[in-house]
């Protein structure tokens, strides 16, 4: 009885902190072949800051850094790249919103044959930084404070996203293999998160999907040629489920279509591929989350089919001044 109020009032702060960070996993991991990832559009406490560090190891017959995923038959790319970024959640027009920036960096090795020419090349350096803006259209009001956080349930929420990559990345116009893409590109999408069942850590289940369209400007100096790419359509789906309070997993599906590339009038083929995989997430502590993903294309036996797979490891560090202050008061 003596501890009645402290128990009721403060033991939950730890959970709030935990939630605040968990729900901050909303950063544009611009690894196109792997999509945004599961639980990407969950909401967090407004004012939360996050820094993701992402490591990708990918391989296949297209350049993973190229958003158009242009298949180069007979090619064999292997890429390892890291990304770091920053995101902040904030309310705009009384809706949840997030502004984020992500900068890819790393190296890519590729062997490709293009128009009779064999290339064997390595590229390293920074990729094109991407800025993404997300705003919620349908769903709960922004999580402005701890009581809102306590009461938050996503229910059925729909966001609007707009991304823009700025062509500042490392680019070598003598090579078809580059980290930077030498063109502007971005996307517009309507991510959906659909809560299934109760919203209790350890039991949460969601169905998530992201319909989006990528728009790319021309690369006017692609090995001395001009490369145009038609709009590309992305549909990404996830069925996610908590296994324990701090461990979750998801079944992931991603599909790309359209995006036919034309190089100096020579048309390529449009994309029509499907990838499947899974993700495991672990909330290490109030501030850090680790996720491991694997995704591979299926129905990819023809030479012109996109054939790609990849591992991704994401370490996310998040914080909110209020939560950190409470932890300081508790002496953590």
């Amino acid at each position: 009885m003596k501890r009645y109020i402290p128990k009721a009032g403060f033991s939950y702060f730890r959970n709030f902190a935990f939630l605040a960070i968990v729900l901050t996993y909303c950063l544009p991991e611009a690894t196109f072949a792997q999509g945004d990832g599961a639980r990407f559009y969950w909401k967090g406490l407004m004012g939360t800051n996050a820094i993701p560090v992402i490591y990708n190891s990918m391989g296949g017959n297209a350049n993973p850094f190229d958003p158009s995923q242009k298949v180069i038959p007979g090619s064999n790319f292997s890429a390892s790249m890291s990304m770091a970024g920053y995101a902040k959640m904030l309310p705009i027009f009384k809706r949840s919103a997030m502004i984020s920036v992500l900068v890819p960096m790393g190296r890519i090795n590729g062997e490709a044959s293009l128009n009779g020419l064999d290339f064997s090349s390595t590229s390293r350096g920074f990729g094109d930084p991407m800025v993404q803006f997300t705003i919620n259209l349908i769903g709960p009001k922004p999580i402005m404070n701890i009581p809102d956080m306590i009461r938050y349930k996503p229910g059925f929420s729909v966001d609007l996203i707009g991304s823009l990559a700025v062509p500042l990345g490392t680019y070598d116009n003598t090579s078809p293999i580059n980290i930077g893409q030498n063109r502007w590109y971005g996307r517009v999408g309507l991510p959906v998160v659909w809560q299934i069942g109760s919203w209790v850590p350890g039991k949460r289940t969601t169905f998530e999907f992201v319909p989006a369209v990528w728009l790319l400007s021309d690369n006017t100096d692609f090995v001395g040629k001009t490369m145009s790419t038609e709009p590309m359509y992305q549909i990404e789906g996830h069925l996610t489920r908590d296994f324990m309070e701090r461990v979750w997993g998801s079944f992931d599906v991603i599909s790309y279509s359209g995006g036919k590339a034309t190089i100096d009038g020579q048309e390529g083929t449009a994309l029509n591929n499907l990838g499947m995989g899974g993700t495991l997430g672990y909330h290490m502590n109030d501030n850090m989350q680790l996720t491991l993903s694997y995704l591979a294309t299926i129905n990819d036996s023809k030479p012109e089919d996109l054939k790609m797979d990849g591992f991704r490891v994401t370490l996310l560090f998040g914080w909110h001044p209020l939560v950190e202050g409470m932890k300081r008061l508790k002496g953590e």
Partner: protein, 599 residues
């Protein structure tokens, strides 16, 4: 037995004469059905017609069609209350001189302290069955588990019963490592599993409706004891009932108590002069809590309100069914809570010792305790002393204690027995032990001197029939008294006066004297100012002890409480100013930005 039958026959004949009918008459008026609805741990002010903001339209409809009683006393805890209701006999004679869970070493083996409703008493259903009533029970029993003690053995023809005092609303999970599974009976058989889609309040209602339908063919009246588990903790309730009041209780218990008091005065439940009891000193002033704490603590009350509304919904289902089958107009409803609202943290009491067997049991069975899981199976949540005091507005204390908040409850009686103005309020002094003599009179039978060859202890209650007929304002004279002893706490009420002895620090471990008519919140101890009255009341207490086999316990759950609770100081709102004072805002014309340093 023969004598009992003879008495019954004589009484039945008497009733028939009273009604001016013979048994062969085509126009024989059927005796009224009786439905006792007992809400477990429901507080005095939790129904709308007693001042609550909680939406209880079906309970309110019973009140609007009947009488509300504002001075109705139960006991301070569930099985003592139930034993008095069903037997009409004082707890120290009927087996519940102490709760089974807290029998003191010096009470072990004593008659009257068996921890269950002993077989030395008879029960309402036994006598009503003998008088030609069908007798049904659904819900919580808590008066004994062995075959000779279960409802079927105590007079109920049909039952669907939780034998334990509490447990999950969803399944058979019970509360302790040594009693991990709740026991249920149906028609006298112990159940190995529960029906599919079991949810306590709904299933109890369904079962009762089924009993009534199956028994109505022979034209006999029925007595139904609807002993709901709700709104006892843990607050288990279906998803659709959990989020009806999100954020509505964020402003807290202090404000809510004031609002309920205001409504109680408007309704006429309390006089204009009534004051609120002091907030329990270990409960913080709500306004100093952080928003997060308010949201978490408020969520508990949101769930309680939802649980009450769900209970009301199912009471409405029962009433609607009785209307549908044409029995409503001939049914007496008696609705009340069995004791004060629950302010204790039972989970903490049971499993609060880390490393204990019960702690491990709770970790396994009762740890689904994320705030969003509250209400689900495996969750354990109760609302604590702050909200319990809201439920008991305007009184002090709560369940387990003998302050008004522990023993005074709201009572509604409606149906053909009531001749008073519909929706009226009565302030007569009533006891839960009165239900037995009242119902025996309604059924046209009487309390025998012996039953099955055993001499019966005397009933302590008084029939309400004259009060309900509008012929008296109270079943008691100014000289009659009601008395209680539980866990070593003691109290006695006679007329406007109440004598009370309670363990420190809720009491003073000495006798206190209150005028509860003028001071229902028991704020002012008048013992020193009224030594003669104190002496007179102490004499009554001695009389009670002598007549009712009272043996004060050598151990009590409240012993040493003084060492567990913070030191008790008066509760003054807004004290200390250190944490209550707001930011001072200077006059705008005197405000300025800092002057820049001149180079």
């Amino acid at each position: 037995m023969k004598k009992n039958l003879l008495i019954t026959v004589v009484m039945l004949s008497f009733v028939q004469v009273l009604y001016g009918q013979s048994s062969s008459s085509q126009s024989e008026k059927k005796r009224p059905n009786i439905v006792i609805i007992l809400a477990d741990d429901m507080g005095y002010s939790d129904m709308g017609m007693f001042g609550s903001e909680i939406k209880t339209p079906n309970m309110d409809a019973l009140a609007a069609n009947g009488v509300r009683f504002t001075n109705f006393y139960t006991h301070a805890s569930c099985s003592p209350s139930r034993s008095m209701m069903l037997s009409g006999v004082d707890t120290h004679l009927n087996g519940l001189g102490n709760m089974d869970e807290w029998t003191a070493p010096n009470q072990v083996g004593l008659d009257g302290y068996e921890g269950h409703l002993n077989t030395k008493v008879t029960t309402i259903p036994l006598l009503l069955k003998d008088a030609g009533y069908h007798t049904y029970m659904v819900g919580k029993w808590h008066l004994g588990k062995s075959p000779e003690l279960i409802p079927a053995a105590r007079g109920f023809e049909r039952d669907f019963t939780l034998l334990d005092g509490m447990g999950s609303y969803w399944d058979m999970t019970n509360m302790t490592a040594l009693v991990p599974k709740s026991l249920y009976t149906e028609d006298g058989k112990y159940l190995t599993e529960l029906p599919k889609n079991f949810y306590a309040t709904e299933t109890y209602t369904d079962k009762l409706i089924n009993f009534i339908d199956e028994g109505k063919g022979d034209g006999k009246p029925f007595f139904a004891y609807v002993s709901h588990q709700a709104p006892h903790d843990p607050y288990h309730l279906p998803t659709e009932w959990r989020d009806r009041h999100v954020g509505e209780y964020d402003f807290g218990w202090d404000m809510q108590r004031l609002q309920r008091l205001k409504k109680q005065k408007e309704l006429g439940i309390l006089p204009e002069s009534a004051n609120l009891a002091e907030r329990m000193w270990f409960v913080p002033e709500y306004s100093v809590l952080a928003p997060a704490a308010r949201a978490v603590v408020g969520r508990k009350m949101e769930l309680y309100a939802g649980l009450m509304e769900n209970l009301d919904f199912h009471i409405g289902r029962l009433v609607d069914h009785l209307k549908k089958i044409g029995e409503y107009e001939n049914t007496i409803f008696i609705l009340f809570g069995d004791n004060g609202a629950e302010g204790n943290d039972l989970g903490e009491m049971i499993a609060g010792q880390p490393g204990s067997l019960n702690s491990l049991f709770f970790a396994s069975k009762w740890s689904n305790n994320h705030i969003n899981a509250w209400g689900e199976p495996g969750s354990y949540v109760g609302y604590g002393p702050g909200w319990a005091q809201v439920s008991m507005t305007p009184f002090s204390q709560y369940k387990g204690w003998l302050g008004e908040g522990g023993i005074r409850n709201a009572l509604i009686v409606s149906g053909p027995i009531n001749k008073r103005e519909k929706g009226s309020i009565n302030h007569g002094l009533m006891s839960i032990a009165d239900i037995m003599p009242t119902l025996l009179e309604v059924a046209g039978t009487s309390y025998p001197k012996s039953y099955n060859g055993n001499a019966l202890p005397p009933m302590i209650g008084k029939s309400w029939t004259k009060v309900l007929a509008g012929e008296a304002e109270s079943p008691r004279t100014t000289q009659d008294y009601i008395a209680w002893e539980l866990f070593g706490n003691r109290a006695l009420r006679q007329g406007e006066w109440k004598l009370r002895w309670e363990f420190t620090p809720l009491g003073i471990s000495d006798w206190e004297l209150f005028n509860v008519a003028a001071d229902p919140a028991e704020r002012k101890d008048l013992a020193d100012a009224n030594p003669e009255k104190l002496k007179e009341m102490l004499g009554l207490w001695d009389d009670y002890v002598k007549k009712n086999n009272v043996v004060l316990p050598s151990r009590s759950p409240f012993e040493g409480l003084y060492d567990q609770l913070p030191a008790r100081f008066p509760v003054d709102y807004g004290y200390p100013p250190l944490i209550n004072k707001r930011q001072y805002t200077p006059p705008t014309e005197l405000m300025n930005t800092p002057k820049e340093k001149k180079n």
